[in-house]
């Protein structure tokens, strides 16, 4: 026990007599016009898009690259407008979408059959997980040479590869989703005496819907990529094709404006499917049901 004295400095009490009135405190200030406008998200994004377009057009006008290699924005836009007016573009889009829908629907149907088997029997579940583990890493496009051998050049081969690209992604994601459905929900279903298909439709599908939707989205992304790729490969052979074929053909003929126009269209279709169709499904199902914020 050392006995050191500790000095504590105690501040003397004091009062401030003369507080001034609070002035020049700008609590609520109107944002300036520029600030208010630049706070609107859409405006900022639109101006970025415009900036990119101006950059592109400026680059082609100032540097003047060979238009066969890099056409100006206006030339591409003009060609896009022209092909839309003449209906050529819609015809191509329709051919691509038709094959895509056919493959997507068939792929979903097959996935559904596999899933029903997987839910009802253990051997079905084993079969499905083995098949998905094997085929999910296989790019569907690499089956195209085989498909061409089996089904010839034409829509059946395209549909075959599209099915392959949709089937495994959807089956895998849905199966994982089904397995994650909580025991409580399953017991509710069994309590109601639901079995087989009604059980799947009324209990498993709604409960696993977020996973199913992810599967559908990935399936769509793979299918769209595969289809465009397949049409590019086909380019060498088939006579009439969709957007991918248009890109290939025009690229080969060095009609680069047309390539850009077709790329615009591919982006547009992708945006519509992702942000309009899937977004709406999402809003009307899992967002409405409160499964996702």
């Amino acid at each position: 026990m050392s006995d050191k004295a500790i000095d504590i400095y105690v501040r003397p009490e004091f009062e401030v007599g003369a507080l001034k009135d609070a002035t020049n405190v700008d609590v609520e200030r109107q944002l300036s016009l520029v600030e208010r406008i630049s706070n609107i998200n859409a405006v900022r994004k639109m101006s970025i898009l415009l900036g990119l377009v101006v950059l592109w057009q400026g680059y082609t006008m100032i540097v003047q690259p060979e238009p066969l290699l890099f056409p100006s924005f206006f030339a591409s836009a003009e060609v896009l407008w022209e092909t839309i007016l003449s209906g050529e573009m819609f015809e191509k889009v329709w051919i691509s979408l038709y094959v895509l829908l056919l493959g997507y629907a068939a792929g979903l149907a097959i996935a559904a059959i596999f899933l029903v088997l997987a839910v009802s029997t253990r051997i079905g579940s084993d079969f499905l997980s083995t098949m998905t583990a094997m085929f999910q890493p296989l790019p569907a496009i690499s089956l195209l040479p085989l498909a061409m051998l089996w089904f010839g050049l034409g829509i059946p081969s395209l549909v075959f590869v599209t099915i392959h690209s949709v089937l495994w992604a959807v089956a895998l994601s849905t199966h994982v989703g089904f397995m994650g459905v909580s025991e409580t929900l399953r017991m509710v279903g069994r309590n109601y005496g639901l079995r087989s298909i009604p059980y799947i439709l009324k209990i498993l599908v709604p409960a696993a819907f977020p996973a199913i939707l992810i599967g559908l989205k990935i399936g769509w992304a793979f299918a769209w990529r595969t289809l465009i790729g397949a049409e590019l490969v086909f380019g060498a052979a088939a006579g009439k094709g969709g957007l991918g074929w248009m890109i290939f053909e025009k690229g080969d003929n060095l009609d680069t404006e047309y390539v850009f126009a077709a790329l615009f269209m591919v982006i547009l279709v992708g945006l519509v499917v992702e942000n309009v169709i899937f977004r709406n499904i999402e809003l009307n199902t899992i967002n409405k049901w409160g499964m996702q914020r």
Partner: protein, 307 residues
């Protein structure tokens, strides 16, 4: 309380059941039969499924008398695979594909990183990133291959350009979304330590957003792998048309996609199947070997994802 109804209660008469047998404790703990125990093992069941598939394939092709050019037997395919590995230099082709893929992957991730860092620092960067990803993510990378071939000629640059495109957008999109989802608490912890700029991103944002970054990397890999195979297939057609220089007879210049294409053109269907097997194996190794390991060592170890 006007009318009082008489309620008759039926009271069940008491009775004793004289004939209750003495309780026998049943078969509570029974050893599963050998068969049950074996069929309860997951690998055994899955392996059986695989073997059954192979047997079905072999029987179908043998008994059905399928034309070998259309659908070779499993044994033929297997022999072709071994032969390709031993003699035809399949490993070189795998290496060609993978080195191209890794080059593209690394460059793509660096570009995505720069974009995402810009997106974190400035509002303009964030706007630019979201606009670009929204626009370019739905565009299949392979659709750019014809343009790339016009710009860079036939060769690896064109393929790498398309690969970059297939990697940058999913990675940037997922990383950016992950960064935006990092909780305010973690951000404040970082700011409390005085972290700014790059250290802030590396020490706070990246670990916190690692699950979505990993998802982005996985999707990027999947798209890149598909794009690469497709690009090699397309290239196959182009090169056959023009020079025959890349991957011409006897050389092992092309990748896996090229092998598939070439063998199909020469009607060597067993070799096409062998090529497909190799693609599957490489895919499984990267997905289950590589990404699974990274996942185990990061987000699962850190407790960000269960099981």
């Amino acid at each position: 309380m006007a009318d009082v109804k008489a309620i008759s209660l039926f009271i069940r008469p008491e009775f004793e059941n004289p004939a209750v047998e003495t309780a026998v404790v049943g078969d509570i703990e029974r050893r599963l039969s050998m068969w049950e125990r074996i069929s309860n093992m997951d690998p055994v069941r899955k392996f059986t499924v695989l073997v059954t598939l192979v047997v079905a394939w072999e029987l179908y092709t043998r008994i059905g008398g399928i034309n070998e050019l259309m659908f070779p037997t499993f044994t033929k395919t297997f022999i072709a695979l071994v032969d390709a590995l031993m003699n035809a230099g399949l490993l070189t082709n795998i290496w060609n594909s993978l080195s191209l893929l890794v080059t593209g992957y690394v460059i793509g991730i660096s570009i995505a990183a720069v974009l995402v860092v810009l997106g974190v620092w400035t509002r303009f960067g964030s706007d630019l990133l979201t606009t670009l990803t929204a626009m370019l993510n739905p565009l299949p990378a392979i659709a750019l291959l014809p343009l790339a071939m016009i710009w860079f000629g036939l060769g690896n640059q064109a393929v790498i350009f398309t690969l970059l495109h297939s990697i940058i957008w999913p990675v940037a999109l997922n990383t950016h979304a992950g960064f935006q989802g990092v909780s305010e608490t973690m951000r404040m912890v970082g700011r409390n330590y005085g972290l700014k700029g790059l250290p802030y991103i590396v020490k706070i944002l990246i670990p916190a957003a690692f699950p979505s970054i990993l998802t982005g990397l996985r999707i990027g890999w999947a798209f890149a792998w598909r794009t690469l195979i497709a690009a090699e297939l397309v290239f196959g057609g182009q090169v056959m048309d023009t020079s025959g220089q890349l991957g011409s007879e006897g050389s092992n210049a092309g990748g896996l996609g090229w092998i598939i294409f070439q063998n199909q053109m020469e009607n060597q269907t067993p070799y096409v199947f062998a090529g497909l097997f190799t693609v599957i194996i490489v895919g499984i190794v990267i997905e289950n070997g590589l990404f699974r390991n990274v996942e185990d060592r990061t987000i699962r170890k850190w407790g960000m994802q269960q099981s």
